[in-house]
């Protein structure tokens, strides 16, 4: 039973006293007034009525007082309760205000900087006050470049084990992975005993938790993106119950936005830097068309940016042929040497057709096979990254970067950079090769163009000469008085010139047809020796100073071919032999059966062909131009026609010569399998 408040007791006493005073006063006044008016109030014994009234009124007074006191007491109690509630409300407000203050302080602090470590520092300081002193906190942020969570801030007794560490998603405890990372929900393990199974697993996966009693992992989410997590490690049971992580959790949401912005800026910067490097490389590639120079500049620059010990460019069309063609080494690193072929990592990347990264070769299962391990030990490499270079879908080489001094976690950014550069390299190499081809094509075109314009002048001379004859003789026939014999003679001259013109035009068209593959052979069984005899018979009348002797091997026998074309071949060769032997001399044609082939040799004793021209004479308009040959009529088409016809028959033709002594032309023609070989040659 609570004691009545003093004021109430005082009030009850006062009201009782008051009631008594009033009672006695009333009694006295009544009695006095009645006595004064002569009414003598009966003495006590006769005053029963009055005294009973007095007693009743006294009791009534007393009752009213007591009721009033009770009401007052209630009121007072209610008031007191209200006052104490107000006091309590006031103190709670102060705490909230403090929390709000720290949140505002934090948000003000993190509004400025975009540096993650600074943001982390502010955050740790802001929540530190709300947490037990022996609690460890660690802020880990997902670094897109590292593709892992990196510790940005850590505080508390176990903080040292978090600093400078990064955790790939796989390295985090499974429960954190699923609950916090995947589902973005808070994980609270308030008591190591209560969650013994989970706790055991978590400690296994995150050894820093050993001997701790409670653990919380809170996701930091900003704009739908998980930017990181706050890890809290308590040394006491129930250090981390839902209420106690509320403030860190709220502040975490504040800081998540800032972290997000900081990350975006950092990513943009990294991207810009990478693009700048790739651009520099692309620019150099555009500026230079020397693949070697592009390679050197690019690889040197990339090696420095990546801060590796060694960079190798290997080329080779197959995995086994890869050999070092360019090498860059940091100061103090022993070179492997140009031409080195011991490249297990580059080779692996070539075989797999993708980038291969090795963080620490001594622990890499791909290289722990006893045989390859031996290989690798002799390499002096600890970490490496290699990517294949492919040009037009074909392996062209590999780009390999290595670290001889330390193991290295290659970041996704490193890999992207290496691949981007390999891409640029292949573009540059392809462009340079294309340019080289283009230049060769232009040179060839120029040569052809020159040949063509030479041809125009040759042909114009060759055409104009018979035209002059035709024009002149016909003009005379038309305008002069001529005898019938003169008329006949001139008409014959005109006819000869017209035939010559016709022959030249036919030759040109034939060669065009053959070169464009539109020439069909009229194949039949023929006797090659008979063809040669026929050609010799045609040439002899025009070459009285050049005895043509035939030494034909009867074993050559029959073959499959186009009679007219083969006669043309022999006539061309024989007329050349005559034309280019201005001083006469014997011309010898011999045949010989050689296995399935017939070998024809045409030998003259003429001026001969300079060594440099032995090939070009078979090209269109490739006539040897010299004072000695200037007057010799020819279109420069005879030998190209010979070669085309021989090739259509599946054979080959070549020349040997000693200048001043004569020339020898060789032709081989397949006898039996002419059809098959021909198809080959035509394709």
């Amino acid at each position: 039973m609570r004691k009545l408040p003093r004021s109430l007791r005082f009030y009850v006493a006062a009201s009782t006293l008051y009631a008594a005073v009033v009672f006695f006063a009333v009694q006295f006044i009544y009695t006095f007034q009645l006595t004064q008016s002569g009414i003598l109030v009966a003495q006590r014994d006769s005053g029963n009525v009055l005294s009973s009234i007095q007693i009743v009124s006294f009791i009534v007074w007393l009752g009213i007082s007591l009721i009033a006191a009770a009401v007052m007491h209630r009121l007072a109690t209610a008031l007191a309760g209200a006052r104490s509630a107000e006091v309590e409300a006031k103190s709670a407000g102060e705490q909230k205000e403090q929390e709000l203050g720290s949140i505002f302080g934090l948000s003000a602090a993190i509004a400025g900087p975009l540096d993650l470590d600074q943001i982390g520092g502010y955050f740790a300081a802001a929540i530190r006050g709300a947490l037990p002193a022996d609690m460890t906190l660690a802020l880990i942020v997902y670094d897109d470049v590292l593709e892992a969570f990196r510790t940005v801030a850590a505080d508390g007794p176990r903080a040292d084990r978090f600093r400078q560490k990064s955790y790939s998603t796989a390295e985090l405890p499974a429960v954190v992975r699923t609950r916090v990372i995947d589902h973005r929900q808070s994980l609270l393990l308030a008591d190591d005993k209560a969650h013994a199974d989970t706790w055991k697993k978590v400690v296994e996966e995150l050894p820093v938790l050993a001997t701790a009693k409670s653990f919380a992992a809170l996701p930091l989410v900003s704009r739908e993106r998980l930017v990181g997590a706050l890890l809290l490690i308590g040394e006491g049971v129930d250090d981390l119950i839902a209420d106690k992580v509320q403030l860190p959790s709220i502040m975490g949401q504040y800081v998540a936005g800032s972290i997000h912005s900081a990350l975006s800026v950092k990513e943009a910067e990294a991207r810009a830097e990478r693009e700048a490097l790739v651009n520099r490389i692309a620019q150099r590639a555009r500026a230079s068309l020397d693949p070697g120079e592009i390679l050197r500049g690019t690889v040197d620059e990339l090696a420095k940016v990546l801060d590796v010990s060694r960079a190798l460019v290997c080329t080779g069309a197959t995995e086994d042929n890869l050999a070092v063609t360019y090498e860059w080494d940091a100061a103090g690193v022993a070179p492997v040497g140009i031409g080195a072929k011991h490249l297990p990592i580059a080779r692996l990347s070539a075989r797999l057709g993708r980038t291969v990264i090795v963080t620490d070769i001594r622990k890499d299962r791909r290289f722990t096979d006893p045989r390859t391990a031996q290989d690798v030990v002799s390499l002096d490499v600890i970490a490496a990254a290699a990517t294949p270079i492919r040009v037009g879908g074909q392996l062209a080489g590999a780009l390999s970067f290595s670290q001889v001094d330390r193991s290295r976690e290659w970041t996704a950014d490193d890999v992207r950079l290496i691949e981007a550069v390999a891409q640029e390299l292949r573009v540059a190499i392809t462009a340079a090769e294309a340019f080289e081809r283009q230049r060769a094509a232009v040179v060839e075109l120029e040569r052809l163009n020159r040949a063509k314009s030479d041809f125009v002048s040759i042909v114009s001379h060759e055409f104009r000469t018979p035209l002059t004859g035709i024009q002149g003789f016909s003009e005379m026939m038309a305008s002069e008085d001529l005898t019938l014999d003169e008329m006949r003679e001139y008409a014959g001259d005109i006819n000869k010139d017209a035939h010559r013109l016709n022959r030249m035009i036919t030759e040109m068209l034939d060669l065009d047809k053959m070169e464009s593959g539109r020439m069909q052979l009229n194949r039949e069984r023929l006797d090659l020796n008979a063809v040669i005899t026929e050609a010799a018979d045609r040439v002899r009348p025009n070459a009285p100073q050049h005895p043509v002797s035939l030494r034909l091997d009867p074993l050559v026998g029959e073959m499959n071919g186009d009679r007219d074309k083969l006669v043309q071949v022999m006539v061309n060769l024989l007329s050349n032999a005559v034309k280019y032997s201005p001083n006469g001399g014997e011309i010898v044609v011999s045949t010989r059966a050689e296995g399935d082939a017939a070998h024809i040799v045409v030998r003259d004793h003429g001026m001969g062909i300079p060594h440099a021209a032995l090939e070009t004479i078979f090209e269109r308009y490739g006539r040897v131009e010299s004072p000695a040959t200037r007057h010799i009529q020819g279109t420069g088409l005879g030998l190209p026609i010979v070669r085309q016809i021989v090739q259509l028959h599946g054979g080959t033709v070549w020349a040997e010569s000693t200048v001043g002594e004569g020339s020898v032309f060789h032709i081989t023609l397949p006898r039996a399998a002419a059809g098959a070989v021909m198809a080959d040659a035509a394709s």
Partner: protein, 110 residues
């Protein structure tokens, strides 16, 4: 063929025509007959037309004889070459007989 044509074309004029079948014989013939004018092909066996012209200019006796080249080329280069070798004229093939006669007549005006 051209030799025969030129000879035939000029035979109807009052001029005496001598022909040679190559450069060497041409030079010997010029030396022998001392013609009023020489019409020469550029492309000739043994010695081309330019060599003949050069040889004539080197010889005090023959330097005054004008030489006209008959060429199949209409290319400016080769025509210039003709004049560099001291040609008195150039006749492009194919030429008409009247053209040839007119050219010859030029040298007998005075």
């Amino acid at each position: 063929m051209i030799r025969k044509l030129v000879r035939t074309a000029l035979s109807s004029t009052s001029h005496q025509v001598h022909v040679a079948e190559d450069g060497k014989r041409c030079l010997a013939l010029i030396d022998e007959v001392r013609p009023d004018v020489v019409f020469s092909d550029v492309m000739m066996p043994e010695m081309d037309g330019f060599a003949v012209a050069d040889a004539m200019h080197e010889s005090a006796d023959l330097a005054h004889i004008p030489i006209v080249f008959m060429t199949a080329s209409v290319q400016r280069e080769q025509i210039e070459q003709c004049f560099r070798h001291g040609a008195a004229g150039h006749l492009a093939k194919p030429f008409t007989m009247s053209e040839l006669r007119a050219r010859v007549a030029q040298f007998f005006k005075s």
